[in-house]
Subunit: 434 residues, 2 copies
Amino acid sequence: MTQSTLTRSWIASANGHSDFPLQNLPLGVFSVQGSAPRSGVAIGEHIFDLEAALAAGLFEGAAKVAVEASLGGALNAYFALGKSARVALRERLLELLSEGSTLRGKIEAQGAKLLPLAADCELHLPAKIGDYTDFYVGIEHAKNVGKLFRPDNPLLPNYKYVPIGYHGRASTIRPSGVDVRRPKGQTLPAGQNEPVFGPCARLDYELELGIWIGQGNDMGDAIAIGEASEHIAGFCLLNDWSARDIQAWEYQPLGPFLSKSFITSISPWVVTAEALEPFRRAQPARPQGDPQPLPYLLDAHDQAHGALDIELEVLLLTASMREQNLPAQRLGLSNSLNMYWTAAQLVAHHSVNGCQLQPGDLFGSGTLSGPDQSQLGSLLEITEGGKHPVELASGEVRKFLEDGDEIIFRARCKREGFASIGFGECRGKVVAAR
Amino acid sequence: MTQSTLTRSWIASANGHSDFPLQNLPLGVFSVQGSAPRSGVAIGEHIFDLEAALAAGLFEGAAKVAVEASLGGALNAYFALGKSARVALRERLLELLSEGSTLRGKIEAQGAKLLPLAADCELHLPAKIGDYTDFYVGIEHAKNVGKLFRPDNPLLPNYKYVPIGYHGRASTIRPSGVDVRRPKGQTLPAGQNEPVFGPCARLDYELELGIWIGQGNDMGDAIAIGEASEHIAGFCLLNDWSARDIQAWEYQPLGPFLSKSFITSISPWVVTAEALEPFRRAQPARPQGDPQPLPYLLDAHDQAHGALDIELEVLLLTASMREQNLPAQRLGLSNSLNMYWTAAQLVAHHSVNGCQLQPGDLFGSGTLSGPDQSQLGSLLEITEGGKHPVELASGEVRKFLEDGDEIIFRARCKREGFASIGFGECRGKVVAAR
């Protein structure tokens, strides 16, 4: 019944190349034709309805407690239960949905418990997000952005000591599929001394991994690095939409604000630590000369096992491509191994001053570019600030995003002998400023 | 029944020099000896229990709707109702509590509806805070801090165009009276290249006005400057506790993070726009040569009437002063007229990119220092970064805060012919790092 056995599901669409095979089992919150949002599990091309399954008596013990906590349209209480509840639910779901399940008949008899993902299901934010923190731990991105300002010295002196992060806006985080209204704001035209007001002209995406906080901590108590991974409920994809021209003018001295707060998109399924377990890696060796992490960020197990090997893809689908029936074009293919710090290190750092983390808080990793031109996670990097437009297969060019452009993130974990899992999509289409 | 008539209350402690005369009537959330938190109004040295008053049939119509929305331990739903509900409740409270009230007997007969503020009442956060935004619009503070880094050019080029702000941490906002645990973190010792980890050695306060958001906006819709003041539910005092040494090392390039997120203290009473109406002023004239606000920030009524004349006081009470029975010592006396932008301008700016504001969001103004040495709102400014320690009447000196130091903010509005109102206190005592 473990992942490495490549067990199949009796739900045919979960076998083959699905993002959601039996080994994934991510939770999310959905509604059907305006119903109250409720929790479900993605399996193949279906959603397994947890509320209906609970009503049918399919859960008991810790798994039942976990499902009960997941109800009500937000997973916060389920996140708060921590790892043992998550594992109990996962084990029961594996029993219920694997090929040899003795309960297949019972589940199929109540067809409503398996809803087609694509049809009438609307996916919501999986949790009520208390605080959202955006980190900046994609070191290749930090170097690329730093180079635009300081060619000889792209990384600031604190970068390799401090997992750099800042507070983001929680109220405008939206699930995949919600349109991205082009923001208006102040920008400083090149060569001018006075700003103008109008629609953003340098709209960009940022490819990030999202990290959901599970169990929290009391204010004043730090979460030790050795326990930090236990406080993570799961992962998603995150698009940190960015208005580069607004950002350039506003961000000194206190950081990005309106250039980011108009919307942040996330993929709606929470991929658990357990599903990602086979895709853990040793933290990539720091380059010669880089400092060791300070002791509060250093844990042998985390160093040996705390990094994640997730392939991350960015695609662009323009209005013209849609009209011509062209497929979306890949803009970049990167990997979460480009994180300079592990997710556990982010948790330990965030709480080391006593800051209270709460179930349903969300972290963004920062843009996860890789070192090569084909691995970049933003147009700012691909076009070097708009200097070198991208040529598209549709015959178009892009410096930054235009109205009608849709950005699609996908992610995939692969390892010999293990079922490959995905994250589902994080999509957003740019619509004209109001 | 209006403020200018100086009407008195039949509650004796509300007359005289109370922060909470009949003309103030701020709402808050309190509990008594572990009861469920509920809403009340501060009047003199008492809390008028809104839940009990509602049960006694003292409200009807719009005032009743407002009280009903205030129940449940958080004022968010009351904030969402907007100005007309607030005004209806205020008018009814003036009727009930003024000297000539025909309902005095009925209220007094049910003594439980008037609870002594000082005794068993615990005051809570008045609302569930969705997002917290800290601005930086105290221009004298921005100049003073800028001077420490750039003596010849203290203000950055964007300062007089952009109401500078950044996202803060909502989860660690606490009401007055909660202890302030000294945070730990990374700091860079002077002259060193590598950081060390340990307790903050440069702990500071920042004197700010807090602004409670009432009615929100949909994502994508900006709030026009002419309507922005309607979206403000009230005001409080806010202490943006700051770890200067952690801040100096971490804040580039994305702004303050752990140096602020360990705790933010606020006064628990929400002083309404209606109570502050007599203390509105024209926005102080911008110095010669300063640019006009861009059109989205410019409104004639707001310019003529949008500034607030609130006297703001900082006091320090050290452990030694407590032992010697010395009174708290004033560290600064400033005024909210030091805001370079009005509260309405902050609302208009924050939402101009389509960012969604929600009832119960909180803004901090930024530190409201005045131009004189006696008007500074932080120790960073008073001691010029620790160079010139303050000498205290107790014989002690301070560069920054020490364990046992309590910081107390108070505020007062005064105008000839009008009852003076206050905000209650915002206190916090520093306790040793864990």
